[in-house]
């Protein structure tokens, strides 16, 4: 008689039958038990983890970070940097200061002194302190206000060219 077992003898072998039935068993089992991660495992992970502290925002030290040694070590800029440090750490938290600009006045001062040197830097700072007021936002286009509602100002802009 003509049967598939005669044409393909592999169908008749015991090994094949065992393989197929094992495969079928695994397949049915996988349909039934597809569970996710268990809550007890989660709890063990949580108990094992340590609380990571949020990073403290970077506060520049009282010395100007500059390659220019004259700017870095001369007594006037040291005194000025010290004053700035004193203001940022002692006075500013006292008066709950709120600058309407994106780079706050003291950071603007540091950045502009580093960019342009002491004389122009101090002049720009004093000019800025005179403008630092909520009235300044009156006729600024919303394009130049960031998502926190602060006016964007970059010390790099303060050149004639």
């Amino acid at each position: 008689m003509f049967t598939p077992n005669r044409i393909y003898p592999i169908f008749a072998s015991m090994k094949f039958k065992v393989t197929i039935s094992l495969f079928l068993l695994v397949w049915i089992a996988s349909t039934i038990c597809c569970e996710g991660q268990s809550p007890s495992k989660d709890m063990e992970l949580i108990f094992a983890s340590q609380k990571t502290h949020t990073e403290v925002p970077y506060n520049p030290p009282f010395m100007f970070v500059s390659k220019n040694k004259i700017l870095r070590y001369n007594p006037i800029s040291l005194a000025f940097g010290g004053l700035m440090y004193f203001y940022q750490h002692v006075v500013s938290p006292q008066i709950s200061a709120e600058c309407p600009y994106e780079i706050s006045c003291s950071n603007f001062s540091k950045a502009s002194i580093q960019r342009y040197g002491l004389i122009k830097g101090i002049a720009l700072t004093s000019g800025r302190m005179m403008r630092c007021c909520k009235v300044a936002a009156v006729d600024i286009n919303p394009l130049f206000i960031d998502e926190k509602g602060k006016l964007i100002e970059d010390p790099e802009q303060f050149t004639l060219k």
Binding site: F11, I20, S30, C34, G36, P39, M43, I46, Q94, I95
Partner: protein
């Protein structure tokens, strides 16, 4: 034999039910292809948009993928797409648990508390019940509500039927050792500190444990007061007005500063206490879960 083989292959090829889609996605997940698995689960949710049960299952599994990829911050938003009210208790519990776990990991303890509290009243299996009670205690510890946390643990012990009465008593003893009211950190009160600072500038800072900030605050207000007095004596009224404005700024600033100091100090104390508490609670959890 041949009929059997062919029938089996037919079943495989024609099987298009959600169970088979789940199986395919699960195999992607176990192969470590988390992103592909996520999309496969999303596809299941998409294909069964009118079946809340399948959607919830698929999204829960997607949340597992996200956790495996260390994106546990996205879990809360993903699971909030499930419509929870039509589901049965165990699925609900799973969703609440994953959500509050995600919020807890992200540090949003108030949201985590709101999500986990309805879970405590649901009927679930022992494992889930235990895990949710302990997660709730961890969240409440972070918020500084140790008394509620203790009560939750004790009421869990009361309703657990697998533990004998004598063992329960010793475990309760254990809890009251962990949550000892004498060891609770003494948190400072914001209202009191603000009032103190209003009466005498700087005293609020002294009360909250930062004496030098108090000295600076008092010094600034006193200096501007002295300056105003000197100006009035020497008939410099404009300068006096400016001095008064400065003094007022310092005074208001000093009252506002107390808020920030106290919140920071209290958080520090709570963290310090919880580090010890967490390790003890972890041992307690191991003990109770192996019973």
């Amino acid at each position: 034999m041949s009929w059997w083989v062919c029938g089996f292959l037919l079943i495989i090829s024609l099987d298009k039910s959600s169970a088979s889609s789940f199986r395919e996605a699960d195999s992607l997940f176990s192969a470590g292809l988390y992103h592909d698995a996520q999309i496969a689960y999303e596809f299941i949710a998409f294909e069964n948009q009118d079946n809340e049960l399948i959607i919830a299952n698929a999204l829960l599994k997607k949340a597992n993928c996200l956790k495996a990829e260390n994106h546990s911050d996205k879990v809360f938003q993903t699971l909030s797409r499930c419509k929870i009210d039509k589901l049965d208790d165990s699925l609900k519990a799973n969703i609440y648990f994953e959500q509050s776990l995600s919020a807890f990991n992200a540090g949003n303890f108030n949201i985590a508390r709101k999500t986990i509290e309805p879970l405590l009243s649901l009927n679930t299996n022992r494992e889930m019940d235990l895990a949710s009670v302990f997660l709730c205690s961890l969240i409440l510890d972070e918020l500084g509500e140790w008394a509620i946390s203790k009560n939750n643990l004790i009421s869990y012990l009361n309703r657990d039927t697998t533990i004998s009465q004598s063992l329960k008593d010793s475990l309760k003893n254990n809890i009251s050792l962990i949550y000892n009211p004498d060891l609770y950190p003494r948190l400072k009160k914001i209202k009191k500190a603000r009032l103190l600072s209003m009466i005498l500038p700087g005293s609020g800072q002294l009360y909250s444990g930062k004496p030098w900030k108090g000295v600076v605050a008092f010094g600034l207000v006193a200096l501007s007061g002295a300056y105003v007095y000197y100006d009035i004596v020497s008939e410099l009224y404009l300068a006096a007005a400016v001095g008064f404005y400065l003094g007022e700024t310092f005074y208001v600033g000093n009252v506002n500063q107390v808020n920030a100091i106290i919140i920071k100090r209290n958080q520090h104390k709570i963290d310090h206490f919880n580090v010890v508490n967490k390790s003890e609670l972890s041992q307690f959890y191991k003990k109770i879960s192996h019973l």
